[in-house]
Symmetry: C2
């Protein structure tokens, strides 16, 4: 196995201990690891202009990644668009040309989880690992199942029994050994932890290995490039395990060190949770660096149903460093916000992303947005994967030769 070109070592996020990047690692003293690069060397080797001729995938930022495209386990991770949302902006008192949704549902498997798992599975294959396991709220399991199949590696997936049906079925389709667990994601995580020793699994839990974070980092790299290296003022991000938020912050730090950003200023990061499971919001408001586990976690936004995040301090550090905040929105209103954005903009948000719409409302009410600020909201997955949340009854025409036209007309009015 060759040392990746610009990676120099792994580093404990809590105490800075350095570990050899040539060996597979999970955590250090039960806390996550950063992948560190020789950024001075990257700065010499990598110039913005080089991006012009690279494929429009997350692998275009090769010098800032642990694995090159040629070596990657890939399903073609196309860049995701920033979709302008003029009506939604106006609805919340923002300037019409200042709000975008970064639509991660366009990725393989229909969610942002593809980024992290493509990277983690690529690294696992490089290290010769043959058995992967993951606890999941839904989309991460699907993504692991797909990339493990692509790599020809065995995958075990453990999900709460009330995980969205589509996630259950897609894992099965891709051939992962998939189990429904009567419990929360933390119970699934415990099974995976035990299986490491008992059955030789490699644990791909969020932030329990260092490479999913590097995959998620590409959200930040892409966003920076799409904004002409002038980052937006505000980023709203639905936060469960928080890898995306932490990954984006790492991306901005690395880009700053490369001298690629047009301004010193960083975006204010807003971590959004549901009031049915808001451990990070509670810790943020209490001024704490570590978050106590949330009791009786419950939300239809399955990706937010994470009562305890192993990277809690990384998330809270990033939010605070950015001058941002953490906001819990009302669980009962998630579908209302999904409908609002679908009808105003034609964009179908997953319930996790809908929480960010609620946060936009709260930020406005608190005077924490300014009309001219550029705001980016992340749609982390396809709404279509949440049939339980979308559930609705449609009117029926039992006899197509006898349509009640007056009723149809009245319905339209």
């Amino acid at each position: 196995m060759n040392q990746p070109t610009f990676v120099i070592h792994l580093e404990s996020a809590l105490d800075g201990t350095r570990l050899d990047a040539n060996l597979p690692h999970t955590m250090h003293r039960e806390r996550p690891l950063w992948v560190r690069y020789d950024l001075a060397a990257v700065r010499r080797a990598f110039r913005k202009e080089m991006l012009r001729h690279r494929p429009h995938t997350m692998w275009r930022y090769a010098e800032l990644l642990p694995v090159a495209m040629a070596e990657a386990v890939s399903l073609a991770e196309n860049m995701t668009p920033l979709v302008p949302c003029p009506r939604l902006a106006t609805h919340f008192g923002l300037a019409a040309d200042c709000l975008w949704i970064k639509d991660e549902s366009r990725l393989p498997t229909g969610s942002f989880k593809a980024r992290g798992l493509a990277m983690a599975v690529s690294m696992a294959r490089r290290f010769g690992i043959r058995r992967l396991a993951i606890p999941t709220a839904g989309n991460a399991g699907g993504a692991l199942a797909a990339y493990a199949a692509r790599a020809g590696i065995e995958a075990f997936v453990f999900m709460p029994a009330d995980t969205p049906l589509v996630n259950q079925l897609e894992c099965k389709l891709w051939g992962a050994r998939t189990y429904l667990v009567d419990g929360l994601i933390t119970d699934c995580a415990r099974i995976v932890r035990e299986g490491r020793e008992r059955l030789g699994w490699f644990d791909l839990s969020t932030l329990k290995e260092p490479y999913r974070l590097e995959g998620k980092k590409t959200m930040g790299l892409e966003l920076a490039e799409q904004c002409g290296w002038r980052l937006p003022e505000l980023i709203l991000y639905p936060t469960g395990g928080g890898t995306g938020l932490v990954g984006m912050w790492k991306a901005f730090e690395e880009l700053a060190e490369l001298g690629w950003l047009e301004e010193e200023r960083r975006p204010r990061l807003v971590a959004v949770q549901s009031d049915g499971c808001a451990p990070l919001v509670r810790a943020f408001e209490a001024g704490e660096r570590f978050a106590r586990p949330w009791e009786n976690a419950s939300t239809a936004a399955s990706g937010l149903r994470v009562p305890a995040a192993v990277g809690d301090f990384m998330i809270l550090d990033a939010i605070r460093a950015s001058g941002g905040t953490a906001i819990a929105v009302r669980e009962a209103r998630l579908t209302e916000w999904m409908r609002l954005v679908a009808r105003l903009e034609g964009i179908s948000l997953c319930p996790e992303a809908a929480a960010c719409v609620g946060a936009l409302e709260i930020l406005g009410a608190r005077g924490m947005t300014r009309p001219s600020e550029r705001v980016v909201l992340f749609n982390t997955g396809a709404a279509q994967k949440y049939v339980e949340v979308l559930a609705a009854e449609l009117p029926r025409i039992a006899d197509p030769s006898r349509v009640d036209w007056d009723q149809l007309e009245a319905a339209a009015a």
Copy 2:
């Protein structure tokens, strides 16, 4: 309303009658219309090199489209990747580097229908049309609902009562007036036809207005560009209404006239249907130009459940001109092919696309593929939108503190 730059007129696909492109049209004598361009002028104005600086969306081919990006109703229709399928190729006796899946599930609304509806709704808005209606097997309804919401235009959607649940729910989410009809898509089409006069709907049925075809054409333009203007030898396409197949053929014709193609040769087009509804295959085999309606149409691949296609002769003309064929595969094996591709390649195919995998098997058995030929198979939508087809029972762990490790180990073996 301005005349679009390079469009010169509309032309009846059956008898060549010309119609004014400045007016909204549906069909001419119950048969579809082509949009015709001044290709000599396009040839002077449009050069391949210009694509280098254009956005990676379907709007990059502006000179060959009826509407420019600035005027379009768009949700950011990113180009879709060609995902290499080395293991699937080997499985079917093809060279490992000769088979790709063009993954249309990456588009807005999770299907290829986004291309056609983005274009049709853009044109409808330009013509000032305020009420759109569509009969749908599923994904077209979803796409119309999304683009109509984006445009702020009213949409009526009529779908058979057994349309996939996700399609029903997404239409409702986007605010379309959505009705379940006890009948087939042909019954839905009749309701829409009646509603034109009764309620002033504009009929967006497949090929009953000329612009969905122009949207679908971008599949062929994209494919040509992605293949370096050297088209693949074989294209496998799941064929219901057939707009995609006809649109690609039109794209190849137009590119040839621009002198952009590296070779005279065109791909052989293979229209794939299920033996539960195969009117085009029957007509192809009988040497007929028009297809008799299929009786008791029934297939889990809802997009293929089209017993009578208004563009039947356009599809059959294109297949024959290409030296291709039409193949019906066994309905009962659709899920087997979905699993095969999911497990070999990590790609989740919709059941319609799975039919193309079956066709690959048949083509091989008939000696109609050569190992060195480049084959492209279209995945027209996200598998995740077909929960009914994916249905499966997963094993359950009732007590997470008492896992049966021996059983887990045995399951893996």
